[in-house]
Subunit: 255 residues, 2 copies
Amino acid sequence: MPLTLTPLQDIPLIRQGDNLADIVVNALQKNQITLENNDVFVIAQKIVSKAEGRAVNLAVVIPSQRANELARQIDKDARVVELILQESNEVLRTRPGTIIVEHKLGFVCANAGIDHSNVAELGDANEEWVLLLPTEPDRSAEKLRNEIKSITGKQIGILIIDSHGRAWRNGTVGIAIGLAGLPGLQDLRGQPDLFGFELRITQVGVADELAAAASLVMGQAAEGTPIVLVRGFPYQLREGSLKELIRPKEQDLFR
Amino acid sequence: MPLTLTPLQDIPLIRQGDNLADIVVNALQKNQITLENNDVFVIAQKIVSKAEGRAVNLAVVIPSQRANELARQIDKDARVVELILQESNEVLRTRPGTIIVEHKLGFVCANAGIDHSNVAELGDANEEWVLLLPTEPDRSAEKLRNEIKSITGKQIGILIIDSHGRAWRNGTVGIAIGLAGLPGLQDLRGQPDLFGFELRITQVGVADELAAAASLVMGQAAEGTPIVLVRGFPYQLREGSLKELIRPKEQDLFR
């Protein structure tokens, strides 16, 4: 069965307090799509953050001494540095303009996932706003899943994604930051290969693979298509969590 | 337009010397698919390596002193360690069973991408064979692209993929190791966001995103579906190269 990723058209701009379940269900109608069991929605982090009121006006941020020092070192807005530090457990590396951190959510990423673009509608032209990641993306996904199920009666999965850089490769790729109703990791341990040998590669980051796939069709500039409907996800839906995908610090060879 | 990934069914087992272009074109017929311009084929590294004769019988490998020492340290077959060292520019980290290297192809990966599974058909039951990556995957992709074009007349892209682990996340994901006729990186610099601000994220690893997407439908055990047809790739096809995706060592914060 083919895997099909359909970016839903005509999604309105999302504002704080918007109900994403209603927006998803309305979008299905506008796009003339009938939801099926085992469909998965991939949702851009940006609209979850906006709906949950995670935008911050930089005018109200007062940088700490540490933020001011780091901001000078790497030539970055001290108010943004302050927010990055607040959102993080640990600073791993810095370079001009970029702070690689362990985010409070557990994953390693640049600048704590704080985003400057596509938030201009939040204030007037003289204000500068940024968008923080959702506080608990797994819970955001679970809530959305339950609400869509209660409207439609369908068993679905929800995957919230962001774009991350990689340690050794150029370019960003879509990556899971929260999920509900689908596996994060798929454990293939014990499934024999074609010749009966046990597989050596035992765990596949299927939620991250799906995040990358959906990111392709969302594009980057296109806040216009922040919701992608996935049909034909080849693994059984189950309860899932971002935690499956986070490598424990004690197994990390690259800090 | 939706992105559709279709794993081609009934691909025969690939042997050294097989012509992959014929195999792809025959598979299209068997799957009753008519090729279109801008289609992309994603090909599992394993069948490219097999066709190109990159299987090695471990019985003929004589480990160096360095390989023997490292093998003892990390409790791994010294002959495999020897091959890993031969295939690599540099060892970055080691842990029991695993050597993280910079592969001669430029990317960082575990065990130089050397694979033990699904090669049992190459010898009798007492022999142990492993499979090395293709010597020049970009050239393998280009050759396949040209041959398919000369048979079908269609402008297509070819992406050869493997599965890699990540520094900070559990599970493997599909990743590009060679490509022809499609972008590796897509540069979005200068494209304004919805509100006219310049985008901060400027480069997307679109070939890696597509690799991850195709890996989802190939599965891991399934050498039976090593070829995936992609329709609706949302970026313009152009010449491309793996080099676009390799972060230069001097920009690497994590060695």
